[in-house]
């Protein structure tokens, strides 16, 4: 047992690089957060007396628009804000100049029969709708007044009908926070499985090509050597993942970018759990690949087929975000090579039935056991065999050493 601990010492030599990478990952999360500018209100210039009269109505309409979309947004912070700031502009020429310079998002001028909003390239659909409705309302008010309708009746007629959007199902498009979480989870798992899997493969290959494995196997059994390497790199990986996630959360809280939905507290343990399961499974296969090399350069060639399911899994996360409840996504998420990436993504997008979670974990554990034994056999046979690079079939047929 002390030998396994001593073998884990190997992981510590990479500790420095790991720490640096962790800092880099944290920085990647923090810096864009710091640099992101808060959404600024749209600035609308009002040219001419008729337009300027609409200022209060414009601001009221904007607030109403915000309220309507808030009903389907995950958080108030992510709701489409349509804050409007109005500015009185003296002349059309000055309006043109300010729109061109970007000081104004749009300049509204209301004529007898038409209203025009001047913009440098385009006006956002929401702002356009707000401007249109305000201009329409003003026009209606005028017409009603001219027709002799008492102001009180006119006001009642023109009061906006209470309007809200009720969603049947919280879809991902209306839940950008969940989609982001799913994507982040998928990306983290894709990167960490790839990086730590490669680290295991490279470490094993180095021990083989430098004949260190030969010296080590004089004192430990191949299974112990394999387990030690996997555990050593794995602990480093788990630690780095934890640090990156913690850094992300801290950074988020400090900058208050997005309110964390409650599901995050389910997502985080899920992330760590499926990383552990996925890593355990993949690392054995990566280690076997590493043992089959003839030279260090062979590692890339041999690990490519192992990495393909990881890549496929990550690509599937995009599809999962679009259609999280598709039945075939659920089925695919039970395939052991794809489960570690798809399951956390599914969990991020919405609650997954407990029986599915339990079944998934059980399948993963069985796969880890089976693949582990197979990989150990390949490892034991291949690690001391000099000569040409092995193929997967050839490796499976090897007889083991002690």
């Amino acid at each position: 047992m002390s030998r396994e601990i001593a073998e884990r010492l190997r992981g510590r030599l990479i500790w420095v690089m790991t720490a640096l990478t962790a800092v880099a990952v944290a920085a990647i999360i923090v810096i864009p957060t710091l640099l992101r500018q808060p959404a600024r209100p749209a600035v609308v210039g009002l040219v001419g007396a008729r337009a300027q009269a609409l200022a209060p109505a414009l601001r009221a309409a904007a607030t109403a628009a915000t309220a309507a979309t808030a009903a389907t947004a995950a958080t108030a912070a992510t709701a489409a804000k349509t804050d409007v700031r109005t500015v009185r502009i003296a002349s059309a020429a000055s309006a043109r100049a300010r729109v061109k310079s970007g000081a104004l998002d749009a300049a509204l001028s209301v004529g007898q029969d038409a209203a025009v909003a001047l913009a440098s390239q385009s006006v956002s659909p929401t702002l356009t709708a707000v401007l249109q409705s305000v201009v329409d309302q003003a026009h209606l008010r005028q017409v009603l007044a001219a027709a002799g309708v008492p102001p009180g009746t006119a006001a009642r007629a023109l009061a906006p009908v209470p309007f809200s959007v009720t969603a049947l199902q919280r879809g991902p498009i209306a839940n950008p926070a969940r989609a982001t979480a799913a994507l982040a989870a998928g990306l983290l798992l894709y990167l960490s499985l790839g990086i730590y899997g490669a680290a295991v493969a490279n470490g094993v290959a180095q021990e083989k090509t430098s004949r260190t494995a030969e010296l080590l196997l004089a004192t430990v059994r191949p299974g112990q050597l394999l387990a030690g390497k996997v555990a050593g790199v794995g602990l480093c990986g788990l630690g780095q993942l934890g640090v990156a996630v913690a850094a992300g959360l801290v950074a988020n809280a400090a900058v208050q970018r997005a309110q964390i939905p409650a599901t995050v507290w389910v997502l985080l343990p899920a992330l760590l759990l499926w990383f552990a399961l996925g890593y355990a499974m993949y690392s054995f296969v990566f280690a076997a690949a590493g043992a089959m090399v003839a030279r260090q350069e062979d590692v890339q060639l041999l690990t490519l087929p192992v990495a393909i399911p990881i890549i496929v899994g990550f690509l599937l996360v995009y599809i999962t975000i679009a259609t999280p409840n598709a039945w075939w996504i659920a089925v695919l998420s039970f395939l052991p090579p794809l489960a570690p990436i798809l399951m956390p993504a599914r969990i991020a997008l919405g609650p997954v039935p407990a029986c599915q979670l339990v079944a998934n974990v059980a399948i993963m554990i069985v796969s880890i056991y089976g693949l582990g034994r197979l990989a150990a056999r390949i490892y034991a046979g291949a690690i001391v065999r000099g000569g040409a690079r092995l193929t997967w079939l050839g490796a499976l047929r090897l007889r083991g050493s002690v």
Binding site: A6, R211, L216, L217, A218
Partner: protein
């Protein structure tokens, strides 16, 4: 021994890295198990150490792998690093050392736990005479302190100097084994004759074949029952005889005799 005859494979089997298809490895009368192997030290032909690890750490690590506790391993590592002339290089990473020094670290790793059996695969390969002497000294010292040493080499003069027992392998088979005396006894008798006569005088002697002819005369290989007195008379007939005596064969001669060219 030629390359590829199986000496490395045998050593790996001894160390438990390979499992023999037939036969078994026995140590002190019983089949060797993991506990026994922990008392063995191994130096494979190609250096098998972690290149980025520091010297002291590396030797300590292997000491611990062989069952020493942390403090014991550290002390033993320190001791052996000093004995092998590497004092002061402890904090250096392995890649920073010269080849010769790297091999000394390899030796330290093999010796750190005071093994009962030392297995060395071609330890003298590529060493200059001074290094050969140094290593021979160390090995003799260890052998003196009741450590058994098993090593392989192509340099037969060295083997003759150092070894008590020799095993000759050819194509996976054991051709001969025994002490040097026993092996030499298998050689046919050899006679060296230096006579003043014209070269070629010994070409037609009955019962003898010319093995070599050089500045020291003629080396004759005698067939069983050869008449040495007749050869002496023939030599005298050819010219004044300066030297006439039996010559012991060396290990190289044993090898040439046993292994068809």
């Amino acid at each position: 021994m030629r390359n590829g005859v199986g000496k490395t494979t045998t050593m790996r089997a001894v160390m438990g890295i390979l499992r023999p298809v037939r036969g078994e490895i026995r140590w002190r009368g019983h089949p060797a198990g993991l506990a026994d192997r922990l008392r063995f030290g191994y130096m494979p032909e190609e250096r098998g150490l972690y290149p980025q690890m520091r010297v002291a750490d590396q030797v300590t690590y292997f000491g611990r792998l062989h069952g020493l506790d942390r403090a014991g391993a550290r002390d033993a590592a320190h001791e052996w690093i000093g004995r092998l002339g590497l004092a002061g290089r402890e904090p250096d990473r392995l890649v920073a050392l010269s080849h010769g020094n790297q091999q000394r670290v390899q030796l330290a790793v093999a010796l750190v736990h005071h093994p009962e059996l030392l297995v060395l695969d071609e330890p003298f390969a590529g060493l200059d005479p001074a290094a050969v002497d140094a290593l021979s000294g160390i090995l003799r010292g260890e052998a003196g302190s009741r450590t058994a040493i098993l090593f392989s080499s192509h340099q037969l003069e060295l083997v003759e100097r150092l070894c008590d027992r020799v095993v000759i392998l050819e194509e996976g088979h054991m051709l001969a084994a025994g002490t040097l005396g026993e092996l030499r006894a298998r050689l046919p008798r050899r006679l060296r004759v230096k006579a003043g006569g014209p070269p070629g005088w010994a070409g037609t002697l009955p019962g003898a074949a010319v093995a070599r002819e050089d500045a020291d005369g003629v080396l004759l290989v005698l067939r069983p029952g050869a008449d040495t007195q007749a050869i002496l008379r023939a030599a005298q007939a050819a010219g004044p005889v300066e030297h006439f005596g039996f010559e012991c064969g060396g290990l190289a001669d044993v090898y040439r005799e046993l292994v068809p060219a």
